[in-house]
Amino acid sequence: MSRTIKVEHLARVEGHGGITVDMMGDTVDAVRFDIFEGARLLEVLLKGKVYTDVAPTISRICSICSAAHTVTSLMATEDAFGVEVTPQTRDLRDLLFRGENIESHALHVFLLAAPDYLGYPSAIAMAADHVDRVGLGLRLKQLGNSIQELIGGREIHPVNCVPGGFGSLPTQAQLADLHRALQQGMADARAAVDFVASLPAADFCRDDIVLAALAGSAEFGYHEGDTIVVDGGTDRSAIPAVDYRTLTNERTMPHSHAKHSLVDGRPFMVGALARLAMRREKLLPEAAAALERLGLEFPARNPMDNNKAQAVELVHDIEFALNIVQRFLDDGVRPERPVRVQPRAGTGTAVTEAPRGLLVHSYTYDHAGLITAADVITPTAMNAASIERHFRMAVEQSPAKDDETLKRKLEMIARAYDPCISCSVHLIRRRDVG
């Protein structure tokens, strides 16, 4: 007997998607992560834009990771023009990434994922019984946003980030305020770990998950690193970031405007869990303790653990941000202007870790600084195949369950990946313009 399990509109995710699982008796026939997001074609529309306008345009791919898109885009452009930014700019960009990660993880853990675990349709409904927990999440989210506002000039689509550096720099008074906020945030982050630890276990499928993350920087950071490491549990391989193409092997799927990535024909997962798998030894002490407390297992076998991994990163990022801000308070902020950017013909690539995982921007410019080709690969695009794989495994694990139970599981798996569907659509294929 054939049966179809269908989630029409996947709620509490960014963008428009659905889930379809076709079954024949107890065997899964086909699994689809449907994506209905309209095609904005930013990829081709970008063509001919002057380099200064590229980052602000491409950041509109997605709001939740707009800071990552912006900085990654700037880095790719700077790489193409051979521009070297100052260490201070790198630190500030790092701080911005932390702010975004804190905001994004707090949003996801508390407002989007937690209601699943506690049996509410939304954080709004959850607030009726758990107002302090929702409030905790909102405070952490606000902390992340206040970093983005200060460094990026806006919480979403940062305007202060320009090629070569920043329009304006934070003042000592602003940094001192931020430092205070971060110190308070540390307590909140600990509470967040307690909260996540208290959530009921979610275990819908077991898999030897293949993970991929950026490595190569001394610290547990997000935008500095030159190697992509792929971890298959037992085997590890390293790919130079510029050769990111060997990592992905895209297919356009008929049911979605997104494209799927595979490594050696196997789906892989990117994001917080992947980062921890690869770099957990670089965590700062509080975060390391949180990792311990949450009992994350490695090699990773449960994709739902991504939620826990996000909680660990929350702690780590606040700790790390405190250090950066403290350094600025001690040494002062140098009154730097953005370094001069002189366009030239060429290609540049940047690979970073957005909140949801690996993000690649690669551009080609002509001598006048007009963009001629662009290639953007987003984390959710990379995750799509893995999401479908885990849908299938979850259903196969308990095929006899009723539709509603299965649907709930599928939704929770999808949300554990914190998918950003707007992002997945804007997988940009390299186009060489003749």
Binding site: A11, R12, V13, E14, G15, F36, E37, G38, A39, R40, L41, L42, E43, V44, L45, G48, K49, V50, T52, D53, P56, T57, R60, I61, C62, S63, I64, S66, L107, L111, L112, P115, S122, A123, I124, A125, V131, V134, G135, L138, R139, K141, Q142, G153, E155, I156, H157, V159, N160, G167, S168, T252, P254, H257, L370, E411, S422, I428, R429, R431
Partner: protein, 250 residues
Amino acid sequence: MSKPTVGIFGLTGCAGDQLVVLNCEDRLLELVSLLDIRDFLTASSANDETCDLDIALVEGAVLSDRDEAALRRIRERSKVLVALGTCAVWGGVAALDRLAGDRDRLLAEVYGEGGHGFDARPARALHEVVDVDLNITGCPVEKHEVVGAIAALLNGNPPVTLEYPVCTECRNAENRCVLVDDRVMCLGALTAAGCRARCPSLGVACIGCRGPVHDANVASALDLYREMGFSTDEVESRMTLFAPLAVGQS
């Protein structure tokens, strides 16, 4: 007064304007307590998809038949339809496709031949498809404008809209003029105010993310930009970023 029923929707966009609502962290619980939010897919999995709505906040542009059908349904069930954000008000970055020509070719360029079957249409602003009662522009919208608009609507009044450009706010902030003093191509004079001159206050040129101000003197600005020596490429690139049609038409 009973709470107004509200729906918050996203068509095709970056979800930034919905995120702005969620980013009103310190006021979010207050906000949701004043409204009877019935339909908000991005935040809730229990939605009433058919009930009448007093207020519908709609983000994003219309890029597919699916978007269009959704928007028409929203229009039918809502008293006040608010276009939220530059994509909804002006078409936003995606509307560049209206200037770029053959859509099938664009689709094929991105998705290969498989792209032809997609439900994909040229980007349209909401007002091109249905009647819109209120526009709140911005990419993304500004929190104070969203909260102010909801506060006004709760009292039955239309919110106050600013009918002057970013330059005005920029001067009031006593900024150094990016255009005149630094000779960087700033769109402040053509762009609708409301962001409190966010970018020029940071020393960065306004790139027009809020779309054009009513009565924008594009012809004079073009002359000026040319006189100042900006290249045609640069002028065209920047002026078509967020509201390409508005520029295309003037």
